[in-house]
């Protein structure tokens, strides 16, 4: 029966690999091959041939492949059986008889190979370390678009941030370990074969477990977020909107809506799902005005009305999210809107850069925006309006759609 074991050393740690293989011989195992799947998997079977020894042979740089057959034949004649390739620069041989002439890998070939492998390990480890700050910075920039931890938690971004952080630690541990291994390797002479890998194997196993755990947790979080967030958006009718539409709020502006222009700003509703909430967004945007002629230059939309409905998994989470949204800005004004547990209103002027919190966007003139934030149980509704009309006196109209019999309560 084949037994697979992960090779705990890099292919170029010749002395350690040989000592480790000798330990496997003592455990009654015989190496039959090496597979490269996420590192090096050594395949063993029960050893019935008695004691033997293994040698990792670094191939000469020049002329090896033109002489490969001859090379192996000479090895065979001198008592060595080819087992498998460990790397394109290294082969593993097994002594087929006790008096096999020692292979004696050429020291210069070994030194050159080690030097280049070591350099590669150092450079790649340093590159990984250099990439980590960029990774963290991008993550932080992404987080800037959120109002707080609950905002990030609802759509899974908080978990994604944790996943990225775990991945950054994974890379850091791997890179630091790579550098340490590289430095230590320079300090030992591989051909004296006095290296005892036991404690090192245990240490590396621990590091491997840590790395696997970090990678596994990071991947698991990613998978959870992906599978709980529906990538598909569904069209939903505007009639599903749980608050009134623009027609009830500003009939004069609603008259300008073009429902038939599906390539323009036809009102629409879409719904989707994220980690801890499902949502529906309804938009009623005014027609685009093109000051320089239809489709020429930059146009603008004179008014825009949108409703974002979030059905959050639990009421307590909805309460916290609501409180976080309110705390994120200091210009909220508490209002009462009938039919809702909580309501806040704010009016402000903004522009493109402020709206998206980015200095990279082009400068635009300011416009007025009014936002109403409502909560009822686990449902949080955000209503936004950009335009000339004053929504404040009409706030309770929003209640009308839910309770058609009475819409008289005034905003305070």
């Amino acid at each position: 029966m084949a037994i697979r074991k992960e090779l705990p050393f890099a292919w170029y740690e010749v002395d350690a690999v040989e000592a480790w293989l000798d330990e496997q011989v003592q455990q009654g195992l015989r190496l039959t091959g090496v597979k490269s799947i996420f590192g090096k998997q050594c395949i063993f079977e029960e050893n019935t041939d008695g004691p033997t020894r293994y040698r990792v042979h670094i191939k000469p740089k020049d002329g090896y492949y033109t002489r490969q057959e001859e090379y192996r034949e000479t090895m065979r004649e001198l008592g060595w059986e080819y087992v498998d390739q460990l790397n394109y620069r290294a082969d593993i041989y097994r002594a087929a008889r006790p008096d096999a002439v020692e292979i004696n890998t050429d020291e210069e070939a070994l030194r050159d190979t080690l030097r280049s492998a070591n350099r590669l390990e150092l450079v790649s480890s340093l590159l990984i370390i250099m990439m980590i700050p960029f990774m963290v910075r991008n993550n932080l920039q992404y987080m800037k678009h959120y109002d707080g931890i609950y905002d990030m938690l609802l759509d899974g971004s908080a978990l994604l941030a944790v996943s990225v952080a775990l991945l950054a630690i994974f890379w850091l541990v791997m890179a630091v370990f790579g550098i340490l291994r590289s430095v230590r390797l320079r300090q030992r002479y591989l051909l004296d074969r006095s290296y005892h890998p036991d404690p090192e194997v245990r240490k590396r196993k621990r590091i491997r477990i840590v790395l696997l755990a970090l990678w596994g947790m990071s991947a698991l979080i990613l998978v959870v977020v992906i599978f709980t967030s529906s990538g598909k958006l569904q069209d939903v009718p505007l009639s599903d909107c749980p608050v009134v539409l623009l027609e009830s709020l500003c009939p004069e502006e609603a008259a300008q809506l073009d429902y038939n222009n599906e390539y323009g700003n036809a009102p629409f509703g879409i719904a989707g799902k994220y980690l801890l909430y499902s949502f529906a967004t309804y938009r009623q945007d005014g027609p685009t005005i093109w000051p320089e002629g239809e489709g020429v230059g930059r146009g603008y939309i004179p008014f825009s009305y949108w409703v974002n409905v979030m059905d959050i998994h639990s009421e307590s989470l909805a309460e916290k999210y609501y409180a976080e949204q309110v705390a994120a800005r200091d210009d909220w004004q508490a209002v009462q809107v009938k039919g809702w547990d909580q309501a806040m209103y704010r009016r402000y002027t903004t522009n493109l850069r402020q709206e998206f919190r980015s200095d990279q966007l082009p400068e635009t003139p300011d416009w007025q925006q009014q936002i109403l934030l409502l909560r009822l149980g686990s449902r949080v509704v955000t209503i936004g309006y950009d335009g000339e009309a004053d929504m404040y006196p009409r706030l309770n109209t929003l209640y009308g759609r839910r309770y058609t019999s009475s819409t008289s309560a005034a905003a305070t």
Binding site: P60, D62, Y71, T74, E77, L78, V101, I103, N104, T105
Partner: protein, 113 residues
């Protein structure tokens, strides 16, 4: 990257030339011959040999003279013969110099006050 030209004969290289001085041999026979001749003092294994053989054949010091199955047989060229003779003379000169110096210098090293 151009190959590094051979600058000096190493001890294993010299013994490879010695092995091929009077006979043509294949790789395994060269290793066996050198091990026997030096009593294992010169660590010439197949690993070392197949780093040496391409260098010596590229330099025109050795050449292949036959193939039998996977085995190739090597011989020394005229250039190789001259190089081997020159190295022998150099080593003989070294031995003569040692002899001329007498036995005293072989005593444990003592620095004069």
């Amino acid at each position: 990257m151009p190959k590094k030209p051979l600058e000096a004969l190493s001890e294993p290289m010299f013994y490879v030339l010695m092995a091929l001085h009077r006979q043509n041999l294949c790789g395994a026979d060269i290793v066996t011959w050198v091990n026997k001749k030096t009593g294992g003092r010169v660590a010439l294994g197949p690993g070392t040999l197949y780093t040496i053989l391409p260098k010596l054949t590229d330099e025109g010091i050795l050449q292949e003279v036959g193939t039998e199955g996977r085995k190739r047989t090597y011989t020394m060229t005229e250039k190789g013969g001259m190089l081997y003779e020159a190295e022998c003379q150099r080593l003989q000169q070294v031995v003569r110099d040692i002899d001329r110096e007498g036995d005293e210098h072989r005593l444990p090293f003592k620095k004069e006050a």
